[in-house]
């Protein structure tokens, strides 16, 4: 009865709630954090600059390269930017990981990346439990783009290990970089292999939800899922083609357009990141990855006695659990033991030498004494002879 009444009467305005929400949201703006992972020289910087159509991250200066040693550690560099499109503000954080996979020994190269993601979760959790939490800083990674080298063969163990670890902590989106070096056939084969590996190795990658109520959206999401991993091309330059300025790469043998679906999946990836699934990325980070981290942490802390002790233990744990430190410790221990053994051996040697020397000298002495006795006897006999004479 009452329902019908409200329907018939002049609308009281509850339907405006989404509009109110829209106003609030558009005034607030949004925060979005993207992480870029992958070996150097795969066009990570170029890609992000292409994606947002500005020079967000400056390229590494080639002259500065010489001041750094060749052996690098994985760094984490954060670039913050505020983008505005039609009065909507987007606070963008781009996290770059230069140095990943650059060394001869890349064991645990993913550690800094994984640690960074965990740290953001934990710092957000701490901020949440503060009395005032309005100005909480949120750097939780909403999407992690993992760049794959376009070898045309397979994924490296390094890629697999890193992707496995990132996939459980953030929304992982695999990306084949520099897609303009693989012919369509090679690309097809390469994608097939990567998908097989992702399946077989249980790597968790982000897949956009398929909404059953919206046919077009579902179709689009399906398309996106099918084209994973995205093959992308990045370019900061624009060229004029048919009177329009188009981003692309101009080779002597042709012109590759970034925003051409025949050439690469750039548009699909952009749609996934910005146009259709940004909210889902943000929400799933909060609902899945953050919650799992929180759950794990809370469960871990139930058994501890006091929070201060626990935090101390945590910081110690960080060092105890770090495989790099463990390896270092092992190596040092081994080295120490070896040195000890060597020194011991040397001392033993000395001891033995001293012993043999002593024996020899004693032997000498005995000989000498014998000689002397003989001589003395001779002398006495001579004296006797003399005295006798």
């Amino acid at each position: 009865m009452s329902q019908v009444a409200t329907a018939n009467a002049e609308p009281i305005g509850i339907t405006n709630l989404p509009n109110q929400r829209y106003k609030i949201v558009s005034k607030e703006g949004a925060t979005f954090t993207v992480m870029l992972a992958g070996e150097s020289g795969l066009g990570k910087t170029t890609f992000i600059n292409t994606l947002f159509q500005t020079l967000l991250i400056p390229h590494q200066d080639n002259r500065n390269r010489f001041s750094k040693p060749i052996k690098k550690t994985v760094e984490i560099s954060i670039v913050r930017a505020e983008l505005e499109e039609k009065n909507f503000k987007l606070r963008l954080n781009v996290i770059d990981t230069p140095g990943f996979g650059d060394n001869v020994n890349n064991k645990n190269a993913w550690q800094p990346i994984v640690e960074f993601i965990d740290e953001q979760h934990s710092s957000y959790m701490k901020q949440e439990s503060q009395p005032t939490r309005t100005g909480a800083k949120d750097l939780r990674v909403h999407a992690c783009l993992y760049f794959i080298r376009p070898t045309g063969h397979t994924l490296k163990p390094l890629d697999i290990e890193a992707m496995k670890r990132i996939g459980t902590r953030a929304n992982l989106i695999p990306v084949i970089a520099k897609a303009d070096t693989l012919t369509p056939n090679e690309m097809l084969e390469f994608k097939k292999r990567i998908r097989a590996i992702i399946e077989a190795q249980n790597i968790r990658i982000y897949s956009p939800p398929i909404e059953t109520d919206d046919q077009a959206a579902a179709e689009h999401a399906k398309q996106l899922i099918e084209s994973m991993p995205f093959a992308v091309i990045g370019s900061e330059e624009e060229f004029e083609v048919d009177g329009k300025m188009v981003k692309g790469r101009r080779y002597p043998w042709g012109f590759v357009e970034v925003e051409n679906d025949q050439h690469c999946d750039f548009r699909k990836l952009r749609s996934l990141l910005l146009r259709t699934n940004m909210l889902d990325l943000i929400l799933s980070t909060r609902e899945i990855h953050y919650e799992t981290y929180r759950g794990l942490k809370m469960n871990g802390e139930v058994g501890s006695e006091s929070p201060s002790k626990d935090s101390k233990r945590k910081s110690v744990d960080k060092f105890v659990d770090n495989p790099e430190f463990i390896e270092e410790e092992k190596r040092l221990k081994r080295y120490f033991a070896e040195q000890l053994r060597n020194e011991d051996q040397r001392f033993k040697q000395w001891k033995q030498n001293i012993h043999t020397e002593k024996n020899r000298l004693n032997h000498d002495l005995a000989n000498l004494q014998g000689d002397m006795k003989r001589l003395e006897e001779e002398v006495t006999s001579l004296k006797q002879e003399k005295g006798y004479e």
């Binding site: 376009p150 490296k156 697999i160 070096t181 790469r249 025949q262 020194e343 000689d371």
Partner: protein, 585 residues
């Protein structure tokens, strides 16, 4: 212009066919296989994971050696044959494979080309093994030639397997060289001509390529990587060669675009890469340095590369190797290189220097004491000055002879320092024998030194070489000079022996390293097996526990079932009884 002798050589070579061995090295996916196929203009090598669609011309490379860090017996070359997503996370290790091809030119000259590939290079998490393994391989080839050279009777059919050129494929990152590249090229260039090339150069636009080349050249200069240089003598060579080598030098590193796909462009058969946005002709010198490199490798510089390998690289290696063997130190350069301590403060060095100082001081003190002792005893016995001089002269003599004798000097010093604690004892002896005449005393002294010498000799003969070495090392500063003089004396004798010993020595070493490698592998795999066994056992335990629990649960349920039925029975009984009571009532 080749002179008569080289012409003659070339003719001879033509009849027999020239042998040329080339190595391709670099991360997977930088276009090594395509390059080889393009170079020969035949699809000889199968691509990774595409062994099944190997053409009729193709051949599966022969694996020479492979090794793996984690003890798995997987062969990197085998891993590449078919794609297995389950195993993709395993480190492939590194293998070295070989393919031989014969190329017949139009003028009937033959080229016996051997291509050595290194699958797995750069694919591991820890790639330090890769360069080590390749260096070992290169060293082995040198050793084989060295052993053959020093043999008394040489094998006329001996095949020279030395690598003449190594093409190092740099991944097209656009930044510069990575640590692996620098490390690898530096180490390899000790044994082989390293020619850096950029694989997949079609990922660069023209300006990017120029920048990348400049970065690489800067890096090569900065890290002092001795890569192959195209040099010429401006005064002796004709202007054409000078111009050519200058052109080649400024073209380095060569940017390669290679392909397996053939096509006909403008009536000329060539290889192309076909993209949706255009077709790249690999023989187009404006986009690819491939044709230049091809003519360098198989034409203009083939003999050059061979000569440098033999005259310079091999010669250096030979000198180093032989001098190492001649020293008969027991430890060889590569062995001693392995035991470098971790980056901590060098404890050993400090300990050594300290003990050395102390020991040195003790030695000096002993010397002083000894001289004081001798003079003291001399004074004690009150001989004439002539006699003292005679004694000292004799003493000096003995010391000289000792130093001339093999390894005599160090022992002498040891003895002197050893003498110190026993001195009071000696003196009492002396004082006890105070009545002894001076002449006899000197005689006994000389006797002592003589005996000393004899015993020393016997000691050095019988004592282990290790002891001798340690003694030498400990007292090296005083010994080096005497050692040098020794070496000169002994060198000729030793050098004569080298020709007999070197082949065996080398073989022995390779055997030892092989054995070590095998032992290592065995140990690692044993550990792996033990781990797996432990895991399985654990699982079994868990399963058993679960079974037990389930059984217990079952039993409990049965019991409870029984109990419930029984209670029901009792209830009914009781009701019966009650009923009875009621009836009774």
């Amino acid at each position: 212009m080749p002179n008569a002798s080289t012409l003659f050589k070339r003719q001879k070579d033509m009849k027999r066919g020239i042998r040329f061995t080339m190595m391709v090295c670099g991360c997977s996916g930088t276009g090594k296989t395509s390059f080889v196929n393009s170079l020969l203009d035949r699809n000889i090598l199968p691509h990774r994971f595409q062994y099944q669609n190997l053409g009729s011309e193709g051949s599966i490379p022969k694996t020479i050696t492979y090794s793996n860090l984690n003890g798995a017996m997987a062969n990197a070359a085998d891993l590449g044959q078919k794609f297995d997503a389950e195993l993709a996370n395993q480190e492939p290790g590194i293998a070295i494979t070989e393919t031989s091809v014969e190329i017949v030119d139009e003028d009937d000259s033959r080229l016996q080309l051997t291509i050595v590939d290194t699958p797995g290079f750069g694919d591991n998490l820890d790639n330090s093994l890769c360069t080590k393994e390749i260096c070992n391989f290169l060293e082995q080839q040198f050793d084989l030639v060295l052993a053959e050279e020093t043999k008394v009777r040489r094998n006329p059919r001996f095949e020279d397997t030395r690598i003449h050129v190594c093409l190092y494929f740099i991944a097209p990152s656009g930044h510069g060289l990575r640590e692996l590249d620098v490390d690898g090229m530096k180490k390899l260039s000790k044994y082989v001509n390293v020619v850096p090339v950029i694989g997949r150069a079609d990922s660069f636009t023209r300006t990017e390529l120029i920048n990348f080349k400049r970065n690489i050249n800067d890096d090569i200069e900065r890290f002092k990587i001795p890569v192959f240089q195209f040099t010429s003598d401006e005064e002796e060579d004709d202007p054409d060669t000078v111009e050519e080598s200058r052109f080649l030098q400024q073209l380095q590193p060569f940017a390669l675009v290679t392909s397996d796909e053939t096509a006909t462009i403008n009536g000329v058969s060539t290889r192309v890469r076909r993209y949706p946005w255009g077709v790249v002709d690999i023989n187009d010198t404006t986009v690819s340095d491939f044709p230049v490199l091809r003519s360098v490798l198989l034409g203009s510089h083939l003999q050059d590369l061979k000569d440098i390998t033999h005259d310079y690289l091999y010669e250096n290696y030979r000198t180093e190797r032989l001098s190492a063997v001649a020293d008969l130190k027991g430890d060889f350069p590569f062995e001693s290189g392995e035991t470098e301590p971790p980056s901590m403060s060098n404890l050993a060095a400090i300990a050594n220097s300290k003990s050395m100082q102390k020991f040195g001081r003790v030695g000096v003190a002993a010397d002083d004491a000894a001289s004081a002792f001798s003079s003291g005893t001399v004074r004690h016995t009150a001989v004439e000055t002539d006699d003292i001089e005679a004694v000292s002269a004799r003493l000096a003599n003995t010391s000289i002879t000792e130093e001339d004798g093999e390894a005599g000097a160090p022992k002498k010093q040891v003895i002197k320092s050893m003498l110190l604690p026993e001195r009071p004892n000696l003196e009492t002896q002396n004082s006890s024998g105070s009545g002894a005449p001076d002449l006899l005393r000197t005689r006994s002294g000389s006797a002592y030194s003589l005996q000393d010498d004899e015993e020393l000799k016997s000691m050095t003969d019988t004592s282990e070489k290790g002891i001798e070495d340690s003694a030498k090392n400990q007292y090296s500063p005083s010994i080096t000079s005497s050692r040098a003089s020794q070496n000169q004396v002994v060198d000729t004798r030793r050098l004569r022996k080298i020709s007999e010993t070197v082949p065996y020595m080398l073989r022995h070493q390779t055997l030892v390293t092989k054995q070590q490698k095998l032992e290592d592998l065995e140990r690692k795999s044993a550990i792996g097996l033990a781990k797996r066994a432990a895991e399985l056992e654990k699982k079994a335990m868990e399963l058993k526990l679960r079974e037990k629990k389930l059984r217990a649960k079952m039993a409990a349920r049965q019991v409870s079932d029984a109990a419930s039925t029984r209670s029901a029975q009792t209830l009914t009984e009781r009701s019966y009884i009650e009923g009875d009571d009621a009836v009774v009532d």
